[in-house]
């Protein structure tokens, strides 16, 4: 069934909280029903937490906006129960090609090895992502969504946050134990608390023209530097579902952002690329500048910032929405444990430590890509052009060409929740990294390792017989991989596993400890550490 998610309108409805004689209390209020707020709410609700989600608008994303969703994000969507519609609707791609003028200079395969359930990326308009998340949220008990409810006041205290909420029928007040502010780049909550996100802007303007057309370009990311149809600047072409194509033209700083948005300006640029006879319709047009910036801290007492509210990057690398969804899954399990009394409030400080480090990594990569695409002085322009020239016949230069280093999940190397290795493990996997997927065969049927982990703490044990798991708080689910189940040996390879190797994996599927044999005391100690109790 096709749903036009962009045109859906959600009505404001009066809530009993508005006429309550006593201020209503909510354990957790999420502000903003974008991808980050929806993912946070779903994750919390899946662990049995009651959630109130407030949004000041009446609709989902208008325009395609974020379109590239990375493998790790799809794995998170799998855990949130909506990975399949995303991948079925999305355009799967793994390959990027870079051209200088008319010549191909470099191509990259983002997922060169098999044995992963999900592709490196799917392209999917943001309104579909939000729509599928919303469908999932509505199917879960415990999530209440209030549209047309705008947070206009935030008063934090030691034991909670009082929110003032504006509606078409006037304002009301609620009390929350915790607030997750996923209210976007202009975050009204950030402003209300007098906080800032700081960084730098780039003196360049870009035109996004999403067009609907029949075209036979492959499902690859094509990026041109200085093409003949748009001299001196760069162009990106990328396919989305429903015959929609993302075309991004670099315009330079002096471009007039209002005039460049008009069809009279946009259509000739498109004709130059697509040919004079090409038939297309404009789907969405936007002229933008961008900044790389972040808040100094993402946790402010009982108010926690996530997604664009906390940090911003340039669009090259697809690091905005992807990192926001990773914020969501990082905070959700921690909040759920704290609200259940199974972890101290200080566990939430690890959200700050881990996701600030992730934001810095994203900002670093995004800034480097931007410095390549938008040279900021004559020397960076000269090196950029020299790199592109050399890339034609010198392999080393191809590795320097940077049209966006595409989003990979952050490894929390220095997380206080990790238990450092006491034994030797080979390979790239380390404590703090997201658990890699691998194909399994369970009861004769193909399955995936990540699918078996679920959303609680898991003890991944490589052996035939299951060891006795002690009772713990929070509980740890035992997941065993028998040698016969790892038919291709990929799980053993990716986890450097031998019989007895045991991994403790967090609810967000990041590795927090590992051993060569199962030791219940060591598991208990690592669990204490991973839940902020040690």
């Amino acid at each position: 069934m096709h749903v036009d998610y962009q045109s859906l309108r959600f009505e404001y409805r009066r809530s009993p909280d508005q006429s309550a004689s006593q201020r209503a209390h909510h354990p957790v209020v999420v502000v903003g029903a974008g991808p980050v707020g929806l993912a946070t709410a779903i994750d919390l609700a899946q662990s049995g937490q009651r959630v109130l989600l407030l949004d000041d608008d009446h609709c989902l994303s208008s325009g395609s906006r974020a379109i590239c969703f990375a493998k790790r994000t799809l794995e998170i969507f799998d855990r949130l129960g909506c990975g399949d519609p995303m991948v079925e609707k999305g355009v799967t791609w793994n390959l990027g090609r870079i051209f200088h003028r008319n010549e191909p200079v470099y191509s990259f395969d983002l997922l060169p090895e098999g044995g992963h359930r999900r592709p490196a990326f799917v392209n999917l308009q943001q309104y579909y992502v939000e729509g599928f998340l919303l469908d999932r949220a509505r199917a879960l008990p415990g999530i209440e969504i209030r549209w047309g409810n705008k947070v206009s006041g935030v008063s934090p205290s030691e034991d909670g946050v009082e929110l003032t909420v504006e509606t078409p029928e006037g304002e009301y007040h609620i009390q929350a134990d915790y607030v997750v502010a996923a209210d976007g780049a202009r975050s009204p909550i950030r402003k209300a608390l007098g906080l800032e996100s700081r960084g730098r802007s780039f003196r360049d303007r870009f035109l996004i023209a999403d067009v609907r057309m029949k075209a036979d370009f492959p499902a690859e990311r094509w990026f041109w530097f200085d093409p003949p149809f748009h001299p001196n600047e760069s162009v990106l072409l990328h396919r989305q579902p429903d015959g929609v194509w993302r075309i991004d033209f670099q315009l330079g700083w002096d471009a007039d952002p209002v005039a460049e948005r008009t069809p009279e300006r946009v259509i000739p640029r498109l004709r130059a690329l697509l040919g004079a006879d090409a038939e297309f319709e404009l789907e969405w047009v936007s002229v933008y500048t961008f900044s790389c910036l972040r808040m100094e801290r993402f946790r402010h007492g009982r108010v926690i910032f996530a997604g664009d509210a906390a940090h911003g990057v340039s669009p090259f690398g697809a690091r905005g929405a992807n990192s926001g969804v990773q914020d969501a899954e990082n905070i959700a399990w921690k909040l759920a444990l704290v609200l259940r009394g199974e972890a101290p409030d200080t566990l939430l400080d690890s959200y700050d430590a881990e996701r600030v480090a992730a934001a810095d990594e994203n900002i670093l990569n995004s800034t480097r890509s931007t410095d390549f695409i938008t040279p900021k002085n004559a020397a960076s322009r000269a090196f950029r052009d020299a790199t592109l020239d050399l890339a034609r016949d010198c392999a080393f230069a191809r590795r320097l060409v940077n049209s966006g280093r595409l989003s990979l999940p952050c490894t929390y190397h220095d997380s206080p929740l990790n238990t450092p290795d006491a034994e030797t493990f080979a390979g790239p996997l380390v404590p703090g990294a997201p658990a890699p997927d691998a194909p399994l065969v369970v009861d004769g049927r193909p399955d995936w390792l990540l699918r078996r982990l679920g959303g609680e703490f898991s003890l991944l044990h490589f052996r035939k017989a299951a060891p006795a798991m002690p009772e713990t708080v929070p509980p740890v689910r035992l997941v065993t991989v028998a040698p016969g189940e790892d038919a291709e040996g990929m799980a053993a390879r990716r986890y450097d596993a031998r019989p007895g190797t045991t991994y403790l994996i967090r609810p967000d599927q990041h590795v927090c400890a590992r051993w060569r044999r199962f030791d219940p005391d060591a598991v208990s100690r690592a669990l204490g550490r991973a839940t902020g109790r040690a």
Binding site: R200, F202, K376, A379, F383, A386
Partner: protein, 75 residues
């Protein structure tokens, strides 16, 4: 460790060769050649520690008198 001791067997030949690639070039063309040359040599050296030492020495004593096209941002 960056080697700043004599390392080129025929220094005058080297210097002549270096200048000759810039013959009759405009400053802009020379910048293109220099940029390519620097990238080729850096890759040949490969050791980032050595490259950083060379970069520090190259930058020594130059007070910035220009300005990058980047602006402080806050939201």
């Amino acid at each position: 460790m960056l080697n700043t001791e004599p390392n080129i067997a025929a220094p005058d030949d080297f210097y002549e060769a270096l200048l000759s690639i810039h013959q009759d070039l405009t400053p802009e063309q020379s910048r293109v050649v220099d940029a390519r040359l620097i990238l080729l040599l850096c890759n040949h050296i490969g050791d980032l520690g050595v490259l950083r030492q060379a970069m520090v020495r190259a930058r020594q004593g130059i007070e910035p008198a220009g300005r990058d096209a980047a602006i402080a941002a806050s939201a």
